[in-house]
């Protein structure tokens, strides 16, 4: 058994201050196999990965890589030992070619003092052919590549440096379904050639389709391991969440009453046009569509960023022009962006300021900042949406993805919004937090807050929406009431 394991962790524990991040975790990765690693945000996955690549040191327990004791001093040290971690935020040089990005570093082929471009391109082409079974043009700039192509370049980069164990930390979040399939085919091929993987993902279907074995972490402990043949989404999700997750939605009939918001032929002059719909107080409108269908742009323009350029948006019967987010906020609209890191969070500020950043006027008594009030409201908001945090002064980066998302929703609640526009409300959020966020949306809608939710996850839209507006190349392909909306009908409208 021992010889088969490339990596073995025994009784690994890690504490941060008072919080236990990992509590006696023991697990092994078999050579030439893919170990799926599942768990909610905050379950200990990231901590484990950071210990594996040497960013953190374990407090106790031991690691063995290839049968030898393993205590990496940092990512470079880990890479030298043959372990590479692969995540979304690996920096690339967008103005350099694929080949240059692959070979960047001390082993770049040279001729004289300069790089040997011809040899680099040839070797790069060879690597792609050999490792991925694909033909590419290595002289293309990485900046011109899609997210999927960039990812493959990074994968080739780590593999060309003789990585024998690659930790894939949510490699699929930026990929379209066909790209995911292609990546999986490549990973299986590499596995069959003897490369080992740890695959971390929130998507249960991905975990079950790619992994040879799945380990589940919860609250820093290993709570279960499923061997191939035991994979079952329901069982997996209950292991992850620690309770059974219901499939159905508690959404009852749409609220009665007249619409307060009406869109007539709205467009942004670029990615969508001629859209009409209406929304009642407490109603939930889902917006579906493929990437590039105008789904995300519609959400942003309903918040004035950038403004609509055609059509009429009427609120309470009066036409309104939202020229900026400030205009939208004044009309009682809130917004939760798709890209939490880039457009939502203030990374250098603490949790309480992140919670209270919208509608700051309410904290100015005269000209002075009412800090006591800000702290009180932040605590109330955090409690209302059950944000897990060390305190209102904690750094926003110390929160898990799900809790950061709750902060972004809670930001609006004190303003008593009539409408919250959300884009991908549960992206990068674990199963448990996802359920909590969906319940939160339903709870707020019962209190009269309307929602417009643009999402690439059809199940989520089906669970929430009274109506689903399906976009196809910027046009309205269908508007499906709750009774008629199914995964098939939405997909059909979005893709034909």
């Amino acid at each position: 058994m021992d010889g088969k394991l490339i990596l073995e962790a025994r009784d690994v524990s890690k504490r941060f201050g008072g919080a236990t991040a990992l509590d006696g975790v023991s697990l092994g990765v078999e050579r030439g196999r893919i170990l799926g690693l599942a768990g909610e945000n905050g379950a200990g996955k990231s901590t484990l990965i950071k210990i594996l690549c040497g960013v953190h040191r374990a407090d106790s327990g031991s690691l063995e890589l290839d049968g030898r004791p393993y205590r990496p001093r940092g990512p470079e040290d880990a890479e030298r030992r043959g372990l590479s971690v692969f995540h979304q935020e690996i920096p690339v040089c967008p103005h350099l070619s694929i080949a240059a990005n692959v070979f960047l570093g001390p082993f770049m082929p040279r001729r004289g003092l300069g790089p040997d471009w011809r040899r680099m391109n040839e070797e790069c082409r060879g690597l792609y052919r050999d490792l991925l079974g694909e033909e590419i043009d290595p002289s293309r700039l990485v900046g011109d590549c899609t997210a999927a192509e960039t990812q493959l370049a990074l994968l080739v980069r780590v593999l060309s440096r003789n990585a024998s164990l690659v930790v894939l930390d949510e490699p699929t979040t930026a990929l379209t379904p066909p790209e995911v399939e292609r990546l999986f085919a490549i990973l299986r091929r590499l596995r069959d050639r003897g490369v080992s993987f740890v695959f971390v993902s929130h998507m249960l279907e991905e975990l079950t389709s790619l992994s040879d074995r799945i380990a589940v972490l919860r609250d820093g402990r290993l709570v279960g391991e499923l061997a191939e043949g035991e994979f079952d989404s329901r069982r997996l999700s209950s292991l992850i969440a620690g309770r059974a997750v219901e499939g159905g939605s508690p959404r009852s009939a749409p609220p009665p009453g007249e619409p307060f918001l009406e869109a007539r032929g709205i467009g942004n002059g670029r990615s969508f046009s001629g859209l009409s719909f209406s929304l009642r107080a407490g109603g939930i409108l889902g917006v579906a569509g493929l990437a590039g269908s105008g789904r995300s742009d519609l959400a942003r323009s309903l918040f004035g960023s950038p403004p609509l350029s055609e059509g009429v948006l009427a609120i309470d019967g009066a036409a309104r022009s939202l020229r900026s987010p400030a205009d939208a906020i004044a009309l009682g609209i809130g917004f939760v962006p798709e890209d939490r890191k880039a457009d939502g969070l203030f990374h250098k500020l603490d949790v309480k300021l992140n919670l209270c950043m919208a509608g700051l006027e309410r904290f100015s008594g005269g000209i002075a900042l009412r800090e006591d009030r800000l702290r009180r409201e932040a605590e109330a908001a955090a409690a209302a949406v059950r944000v897990k945090m060390a305190g209102p002064d904690a750094a926003i980066g110390s929160l898990s993805g799900g809790n950061q998302q709750k902060v972004l929703i809670a930001r609006w609640l004190a303003l008593r919004p009539r409408l919250i526009v959300m884009s991908e409300p549960t992206r990068g959020v674990d199963v448990g937090a996802k359920q909590e966020i969906l319940e939160m949306i339903l709870g707020l809608s019962a209190e009269g807050c309307a929602f417009i939710i643009a999402s690439s996850e059809i199940e989520e839209l089906l669970a929430l929406s009274d109506e689903i507006l399906v976009l196809n190349r910027g046009r309205r392909a269908a508007i499906l009431p709750r009774a008629e909306a199914t995964k098939e009908s939405v997909l059909l409208a979005a893709t034909t």
């Binding site: 203030f346 300021l353 000209i367």
Partner: protein
């Protein structure tokens, strides 16, 4: 029991102290002061202390205002030129136009704010990087000062209480009045950055501009206000200098922008925006001044002093990055 409580209170106080963002800068200032006190008997005297602060008052005023601007995510290389234009406009207004010195000062300060407004509009409307934009306006503004004064100093002003109020009197016969201007500016800027919602908007704009916009903050407006504040501070600093020296030159304030940025950086301000404090920059200015003064007292020549200040900047940044665990300054 009482003991346990007291020690817990002590631990809490200790933690507060070390959690206090500017602790490191204060400690550095004290260490440097201790060093020079040991090497020179005159260093630790009230006279030297006040003299040191008097000399650095103008720089301190500009550096603290520049901190607000840097926190908002921009900076201003034209403050030195604005400092010159303010002096030249004020000097010429009273000397050539025969205006009352107070009225001339108002005119000078207004011109400073006008130039600050132009900087703000240029950066926010065209979205040119503020480094480039204010590098350009620095040359333009310095040119204006040169053209107005024909390259000549302006001096020999009529007697007026203005000069003693701005720079030539000593409060209680001991504290040079410049120090009061420095402290007053510090208090106003501290309140603005750390005790108002405007300050929160400044931090938010510098931390993540897109997120700030989506939270309803008009970041362009915030940044314009910060450019205005910085220019007004440069104007005030120029008037304080005019009060003390009773002369203005079109070349005054050369390199003031770099010294101000250096003081802010020593004080822990991040050049990428979103991090910085008025207290930190105040101490940062003080550190630069005490290094200079201390070296003078040791008898080193002026060239060595500049080199040392450079070393202090590098050291401060290294320590700051290490201590705060930040990726960059």
């Amino acid at each position: 029991m009482g003991n346990a409580n007291a020690s817990r209170g002590g631990v809490a106080a200790f933690k507060r102290l070390f959690g206090f963002r500017d602790f490191g800068v204060v400690a550095a200032a004290l260490l440097i002061a201790a060093f020079f006190s040991l090497t020179s008997p005159v260093f630790l005297t009230a006279y030297n202390f006040f003299n040191l602060l008097r000399q650095t008052a103008g720089l301190g005023i500009v550096a603290m205002a520049m901190t607000v601007l840097i926190v908002s995510g921009e900076f201003d290389l034209s403050v030195g030129a604005i400092y010159a234009v303010t002096g030249v406009v004020t000097g010429l207004a009273t000397k050539s136009l025969g205006l009352n010195i107070w009225l001339s000062a108002v005119l000078g300060l207004s011109s400073a704010m006008l130039l600050g407004l132009l900087n703000g509009l240029l950066v926010t409307l065209t979205k040119i990087n503020s480094f480039i934009a204010t590098l350009a306006t620095q040359m333009v503004y310095r040119g204006i000062a040169m053209v107005l004064s024909q390259g000549q100093p302006v001096s020999n002003f009529d007697e007026d209480p203005f000069y003693s109020i701005l720079g030539r009197s000593e409060v209680f016969g001991l504290v040079p009045v410049q120090i009061l201007w420095l402290l007053a500016s510090g208090l106003v800027l501290f309140a603005a950055l750390h005790r108002t919602t405007f300050g929160v908007r400044v931090y938010a704009s510098g931390d993540n501009r897109d997120a700030a916009e989506l939270a309803g903050i008009k970041t362009a407006r915030v940044k314009r206000a910060c450019f205005l504040v910085t220019a007004a501070a440069a104007g005030l600093a120029s008037l304080v200098s005019l009060g003390y020296l009773k002369t203005v030159t079109p070349t005054q304030g050369t390199n003031l922008e770099l010294e101000a940025i250096a003081a802010a950086v020593i004080g822990g301000t991040s050049m990428s925006g979103g991090i910085g404090s008025i207290v930190g920059t105040f101490i940062g200015t003080f550190i630069m001044a005490e290094v200079r003064t201390g070296l003078v007292l040791l008898g080193t020549d002026a060239y060595v002093q500049d080199a040392f200040v450079g070393l202090v900047i590098a050291l401060a940044v290294i320590v700051n990055v290490k201590v705060s665990g930040r990726k960059a300054i």
